[in-house]
Structure formats: C-alpha cells, structure tokens
C-alpha cells in the first residue's frame, strides 16, 4: 500500500504540425544561397537546387504563395537561357578552340572589344551555362524561402522601429495585384469604346487606373487612421532624432566595415561590430517606445533552430571548402569534367534535414473535410 502512482505523461518538444517561423526558412534558404555564390561547379549547384526542391515538396502548405516555387524555377531556367543566348551572340575574342557552329558576324570597330556573332565555342557556352546555373540556384533558394515562409509573414517581424517601412511593404504587396486587376478591368472597358492602340490609348486608360488607385490609397489611409494607426508612436522629437542618428551611424559603420573586410583592411572587423551594435541599439531604442503589441507571434523553438542551423551548416561547409581547396569549386577550364567537392556536397545534403526536422504544415480544416 502506498500513495497511488501519479501517471506522468510527458510529451517533449514543439514538433507537432504547425507553421514554422518564416525567419527560420529564410535563414535556411539564405545559407543555401550563400553557398551557391561561392562556386560555379555545376555539381554542388545542381545539388542545391535538388535540395530546395525536395524540402519544398516535403514541407510546403496549401497557401496561395506555396506554389511560387514553380514560378521561381521557371524564372531560373529563363535566366540560364538568356545567359547562354547572350554569351553565344556577344562572346568576346576566342574563348577556346572547340567551335560548335559559326553565326554570321557583324563587324564592329575593334575599340569596342565586342564581337557580334561569329564562332560559338563549346567553352563559351559551358561557361555561360555554369554562371547562369549559379544565378538560377540563387533564384531557386529565394523561391523556396517564399514558398515555405511567406514574405508577408516575415514582414511581421521587422523591428518595431522599422514598423512604418514594414507596413509600407505590406500595403505595396497588396496594392500591386489590385492595380493589375484594375488595369485589366479598365482595359476591357476601354475596348467597349473602340479604344485605340498604342501610346495614346495607354495614356487615356492610365488616367482612370491612377485615379482609382489614388482614391483607394486615401480610403486606406482613412481606415488606418480610424483604427488607431500611429496612435502610440507620439514620442518626443529628441528621442526620435536619437534613434535615427544611431541607426544611420550604425548603417554607415556596417558599410565601411564590410568594405574593410572585402578589401582585407584591418579596420574591417571592429568597425563592422561597432556598426552592428549601434544599429541594434537604435532599433531597440526605437522599438521600445512604440506601444504596439504583436498578435500571435510564431514561437522560435527547437525546430526553428535546427532548420536555420542546417542552412548555416551548408554555408559553413562551402566556405571552408572555398578557403582550403578552391580548385574544387571553380573549374580551371570549363570543358574539364567537374570534380566532386565531397565535404561541400555533404554539407549541402545537410540542407535536406528540414524535410524531416521541420514540423509538417497543418492541413487547413477545409482541405481536411474534402479529404475525409
């Protein structure tokens, strides 16, 4: 006979279907994108694209922006195509010997250093493909970030001092599609009046569209004012000036610091740190005084740390490789068979971890009913 045993049920962690903090996804994607900037070797680049595709497929939700990855992917393909096209057309003097085909050449004076048309070599085309691929990879990373953590949600987390800028971005994001819808409506109405084509017609139609959007902005401003916008930010002018000065000096310090780092001056790191500190102090000071509160902020828990961390890991592996064996990341000649940078590739594969570490996206009730 003893005291009845207390049944303890402990479920650890924050791993249940929920929306991950958008900042975690953006950090992860930025890690991958930063890794992509270090190499033109197609092996790691293609691997990064594959990783983004896999994670997006595994963890995206049913939101309207979740499909934006496909859009960015198509954009990436276009980037490569444009790169190859211009490289072929405008390749400067001979870039190798393996001539694929010869285009009719338009002679230009030598002083321009440009050649229009002429021989197109395998080397030139491959170089273009590799550089295009690098850019395309960065596009895919941004697409993945956008599909997984909406840019609009991310804007909720701008520091309080930058709140005005954040809200301006949100309104711009809302206005752009409305403007497009207005334009389509007015244009189709314009056809009713036997509207002419060309610049004159455009000028004529621009009037109602612009007037409409102006009216809408005024309505929005009135609505925001009526709902208390800007009510709690009425602080003293001196405090406002201090904040502005801190942020500006901080930004300047950051800029010079980055310049110092890039040009390997000794003042780089200390200035960078001082600038960052000043900037953060300014933002903190400004944010402290706005009496705004935040509705339902997303938690920053273990899954967020893991997801962001995996992105950092990808970037770290790539930067280490870039430092120690740069030959693996930049091909000596474009026609070489690309080498496999093992460490960097293992690092990139770490970027796959969010596909299991991130909590799955919750199914919305409407979708659930359809499924059930």
């Amino acid at each position: 006979m003893g005291a009845p045993r207390v049944k303890r049920l402990r479920i650890r962690g924050t791993y249940y279907p929920r929306v991950l903090h958008p900042g975690a996804w953006w950090l992860w994607a930025l890690g991958l994108a930063a890794a992509a900037t270090r190499t033109t070797n197609p092996v790691p680049l293609v691997l990064i694209i594959a990783v983004t595709w896999f994670v997006v497929t595994a963890r995206r939700g049913d939101t309207p922006w979740a499909s934006s990855y496909g859009l960015f992917f198509r954009l990436a393909l276009i980037v490569i195509a444009i790169h190859v096209f211009f490289q072929a057309l405008l390749s400067s003097q001979a870039q190798g010997l393996a001539v694929l085909f010869t285009l009719p050449e338009i002679p230009l004076p030598d002083s321009t250093g440009i050649k229009l048309g002429g021989a197109v070599t395998l080397e030139a085309v491959l170089t273009a493909v590799y550089y295009g691929l690098q850019l395309a990879t960065i596009f895919c990373c941004i697409g993945a970030a956008n599909a997984l953590g909406s840019a609009r949600r991310l804007l909720r987390y701008v520091p309080g001092a930058l709140y005005e800028i954040g809200i301006a971005c949100v309104i711009a994001l809302t206005f752009a599609p409305q403007l497009a819808a207005d334009a389509a409506r007015v244009r189709s109405a314009g056809r009713l009046r036997g509207s002419r084509r060309g610049l004159r017609a455009f000028g004529r139609l621009a009037m109602p569209i612009l007037e409409g959007s102006l009216e809408r902005s005024v309505d929005l401003a009135a609505a925001m004012d009526s709902r208390g916008y800007g009510r709690t930010t009425g602080e003293s002018a001196a405090a406002r000036r201090t904040t502005a000065a801190l942020v500006l000096i901080g930004a300047f310090g950051l800029m010079v610091g980055v310049y110092g780092l890039l040009t390997a001056h000794s003042f780089g790191t200390p200035l960078l740190l001082a600038g960052a500190a000043l900037g953060v102090a300014g933002l903190w000071l400004g944010g402290r005084r706005t009496g705004r509160t935040r509705y339902r902020p997303d938690p920053w828990a273990l899954p967020e740390v893991l997801v962001a961390g995996s992105g950092v890991l990808v970037a770290a592996a790539m930067f280490w490789t870039a430092d120690h064996s740069p030959a693996l990341l930049t091909l000596a000649s474009p026609t070489d068979v690309p080498p496999v940078p093992v460490l960097a590739c293992v690092g990139i594969l770490a970027g796959l971890l969010p596909a299991v570490l991130a909590p799955p996206y919750p199914v919305s009730s409407a979708a659930f009913e359809v499924a059930a």
Binding site: L192, G194, G212, L220, Y295, S364
Partner: protein, 538 residues
C-alpha cells in the same frame, strides 16, 4: 453618447456648407439611420463622428461634436479608435493585412492591447460574427458579405461603444446584405452598441432603425425622429412606405409584416382591378441571340449551354446570385469575352460597365462628349445632345470624377448611346444610386425601350426590376432557370420578390405606383380596364 452642438461643415474651396445647423443627440444603444440623396452630406455627417472630418479631410467644422465626452476638435480619429469603430463603403479598400485573423487583430496591435487580451478578443469576435471557419483565409478569397463582416469585426475588436457604417450593404446582393444587417441587429441587441449608418437601400434597413435622421440637402437642417414619422414627409421612401401612403395607412408600416397585416382591406378594394402585365408594348426584331453558349475559364465554364433571345423594345432583367454568370453573359454578348463554343448573333451592342467611370477618361464633361463623338464616328455634338436629353444641366466644365453617381451613369450611358447601339447592356446600374437617380434611370430606360432599343440589365435590385423589366431571366450555375414576364417570375420567388409583391400576394402587384393607378381607376368607378403600361413621369 454622441452630441452635435450646432455643427456645420464647409469644405475648402466651397462657398456653401455641406452640413449646417446639426443639433443631434444619439443616446446609447440606438440604431440610427442617416438618409438623404447623394451629396446631402451623409458621409460628412458620419465622418464627423470619429473626427475624419475635419482632421483627415480638411475643411472647416463649426460647432462641436462630442463623442463619449471627448471633443473631436482635440481628438484625432486615432485617439477615438477605442470609442468609435468606422467602416467605410468598400471593405476591401480598408484592409491592411491579408488574412482574416490578422485583420481582426490590427486595430488592437495599434492600440497596444496586451497579447493574451488580444488573443481572447479575436476568438470572441470570430464567434460573434460567424467568421470562425474563415479565420486563416486570405481576405481576397472571401465573398462580399464575408468581407463586410470582417471589416465590421476588425473595428469591433478594439471594443468601441459606437459603430459607424457608411453604406454597408450598397455593394451586396440581397442575401449578403441580409447577412450583414442581421449581424448589426445582433450587435445592437446583445452588446448594446450604438450604431449610426447611412444607406441608400432604405427597404433593407428601415425596419432595423430606432431613429432616422433625414438630411434634406443643400445645407438645410436635418429632420430627426422615429422612422414612421420621418418617412411620412420625405420625398424618398422604401416601396412598402409608398404603398402605405397610397393606401392612406397611419402610422406608416415599415416592414412587410406590418403592411401585410393591414393589406387585407386593400386587396379587397382591388379585387376587381387587374394588375398591369409588365410586358413590352411593342416587340420588334431580335437584336441579340445566343445559342448553346459556353463561356468562362478553360476548365470552369461559367455559362453552360445558354440559349437566349432578346428583341427590340424589350427590357430584360438578368438576375441570379453572384457568380451565376450575369456579367460573363453581358461581356460575351458585347464581344470582350470570347465564348468557348456556341453562337452569338448581335446587332450593334453597347455595354455600360459596373463602374461607369471605367469608360470616362477626359478631364471635363465637354471633352468626354467630344471624344465619344470621335470614337463613335458620330456628328460633333451628338453625345452632348444625348446627355442633355437624359440628364439636363450637367455642367460642361465639370470633371467626370466629381459628378454624382447618377450623373456619372448618365454620362457613361450617353457615351455608349453615341455609337447608336441596337442593344444596350447595363451591369448593376443602380449601385450607389439614390432613389431620385433611380427614378430618373427608370424613365430613361423606358424611353429607350420605346425608341426600339433592346435592353438587358444585370441587377440585384428587385425594386428596379419591378419598375422597369418587361421580362425577367434568372440564371443559376450558368443556365437559365426561369424566363418570363416580371410578375410571373418574381412574385413567387422568396429572394427576388419586391416588397409590394410580398405585401399584396397572392395578387400579383409589383409596385406602389401600379396599386395607386389601379386605386384611382377603381375609385372613379370606371370600368376595370387594364392599364397596359404605367404612365411615365416626364
């Protein structure tokens, strides 16, 4: 709760005040309806309550407006946000965020409400307004009625004691409007909120109002009193009140139910008279015919095999809920939307779009008319002459944007008519029109039909249909579900029946004027001859 002390408002550059001599007191828990024609200062009056006039709009406010003890001269709209919730006419224009939950929280975030309180209030508001199922939805994916409810919710979360609404149901179809008004009714009864609203569609709101403030316009002092008393003397009134005046009932009935309880006697008096047929006097050749028309999006046809013929002299009303295919049909007939399959044969057609200013581009009325003449290849002066016939006295130098809604519509109509269409299409023509402008539109449409135009109007406005339509076509899911004369189609339908028809059923009377005409005939003891069409006001 709200006190106006001798308030007058003059906008910058204006010589006469929009509002003058306003002395009002609105006690707590009342639902006040502000009525008046366009330009009578309704919006201005509403906007003085939360200080948008004069802080936001500019202009001069004389006198004093006191809201819950706060003077609007010293309190800006943002300082009143926790007392007055203001909802504008177009809910979409006031949305700051992109989903329902964030929109509800926005005002509280601005006011610095603590996070746990915020969370609780959002949940309460979601339940109160029946929005819980929509909480995570993007605002753009909601229907008009749902958007209006979110707009109301987004100001309610700040727990205001007064709710001000500027034409909350003007842009909504009848069912969505009922949805919003039922919500308001609940707020007044359950939460004791004070509500002030302006509305053109009196037939929808009069029954909910405790008090009416009527602005006669032109700076005259407002008339204020209980609905039945105020409506006895106003030139604008909902059909059920007009019927009450015709029948000589006192006090005037405000709801269909009130009127119906007294209508037995009126029905007896009219027993011998035959209601007018609401048919076109003369019907000419077909001006448009659609056969097996399929149109819409690639995988989602909006019109599914629709067949319809319109003849000269007919006024066809297209009815049906939002998304039933009304606008698509009009666009397909006029040729700006390509059908997927089927045949459309149309004589020259002209369409007046839902937003008339979409086809008005010039900087003055005169320039607009001149350019319409050029576009249509008509003789110079044609459009101006048409406009003069439709709406005399629109000043030449005025900017089309500054015209009243009714004048804008008439100008757009004149521009379209300059091209001499045989078929005239109108998409939701009564949106934002007051009763006077609507009456004007009815007589214009009758005139055009008599001239041999075929007219098709897509509309939610059942009272307009009752006045003017010679044929009603009801669309549902891209198909014609009813097609016949107005009395045949409309009288038996719960959603589309006009107020007078609801009162007079089973006798098929559609408008108060029909009843008045019949009464005068009956009372003169003239033989019960049929009045073919009602006389026109000219």
């Amino acid at each position: 709760m709200i006190r106006f002390h001798d308030v007058s408002v003059t906008y910058d550059g204006a010589t006469t005040p929009v509002l003058a001599g306003v002395n009002l007191e609105v006690p707590e828990g009342e639902l006040v309806l502000v009525m008046g024609s366009t330009g009578s200062g309704k919006s201005t009056l509403l906007r003085t309550i939360n200080g948008l006039v004069p802080h936001f709009s500019g202009g001069t406010l004389r006198g004093k407006v006191e809201v819950d003890g706060r003077d609007t001269r010293t309190h800006r709209p943002r300082d009143l946000a926790d007392v007055v919730g203001f909802v504008g006419q177009d809910p979409v224009a006031g949305f700051v965020t992109d989903n329902v939950e964030d929109e509800l929280a926005y005002a509280m975030e601005s006011l610095g409400v603590r996070a746990p309180v915020m969370r609780k209030r959002v949940e309460e508001t979601l339940d109160l307004l029946g929005l819980a199922d929509l909480r995570g939805r993007p605002l753009a994916h909601l229907s008009g009625g749902q958007q209006q409810r979110v707009a109301i919710g987004s100001v309610l979360t700040a727990h205001p004691r007064i709710l001000v609404l500027d034409e909350p149901t003007s842009a909504l179809d009848p069912l969505a409007a009922e949805d919003v008004l039922a919500t308001l009714q609940r707020l007044v009864h359950d939460l004791g909120l004070t509500v002030v609203l302006a509305e053109h569609r009196l037939e929808r709101v009069v029954q909910h109002a405790d008090r009416i403030v009527w602005l006669p316009g032109a700076g005259a002092a407002p008339v204020d009193g209980v609905p039945a008393e105020v409506l006895a003397g106003t030139p604008i009134a909902p059909p059920v009140v007009e019927l009450g005046r015709t029948a000589g009932w006192s006090p005037l009935p405000l709801t269909v139910r009130d009127a119906r309880r007294r209508a037995g006697e009126l029905r007896d008096r009219l027993a011998g008279a035959e209601p007018p047929a609401h048919r076109a006097a003369t019907v000419g050749d077909p001006v448009a015919s659609c056969r097996d028309l399929v149109a819409g999006y690639a995988r989602r046809p909006v019109l599914r095999g629709l067949t319809l013929e319109v003849r000269a002299g007919e006024v066809v009303a297209l009815m049906g809920r939002n998304g039933a295919g009304k606008s698509t049909l009009l666009k397909t007939v006029v040729g700006i939307h390509k059908p997927t399959s089927g045949r459309v044969d149309v004589a020259a057609a002209g369409l007046v779009p839902q937003v008339p200013s979409d086809i008005l581009y010039a900087a003055s009325v005169a320039a607009e008319c001149a350019s319409a003449d050029r576009d249509a290849g008509a003789a110079p002066g044609t459009t101006r002459a048409l406009l003069e016939r439709l709406a005399p006295g629109v000043p030449d130098e005025q900017h089309p944007r500054d015209l009243s809604e009714g004048q804008k519509l008439t100008l757009a109509l004149a521009v379209v008519l300059a091209a001499r269409p045989k078929l005239l299409l109108l998409d939701e023509p009564t949106r934002g029109l007051d009763y006077t402008a609507k009456r004007r539109l009815v007589s214009i449409l009758r005139e055009l039909a008599d001239d041999g135009h075929g007219i098709v109007l897509a509309t939610h406005d059942v009272e307009l249909v009752a006045e003017v339509a010679s044929r009603v076509v009801v669309l549902a899911d891209g198909e014609v579900v009813a097609d016949g004369s107005a009395p045949d189609v409309v009288v038996s339908s719960p959603a589309f029946a006009p107020q007078v028809a609801k009162v007079m059923a089973p006798q098929p009377w559609l408008t108060a004027r029909d009843v008045a005409d019949a009464l005068s005939v009956v009372e003169q003891r003239a033989p019960a001859s049929v009045v073919e069409t009602t006389p026109e006001e000219r």
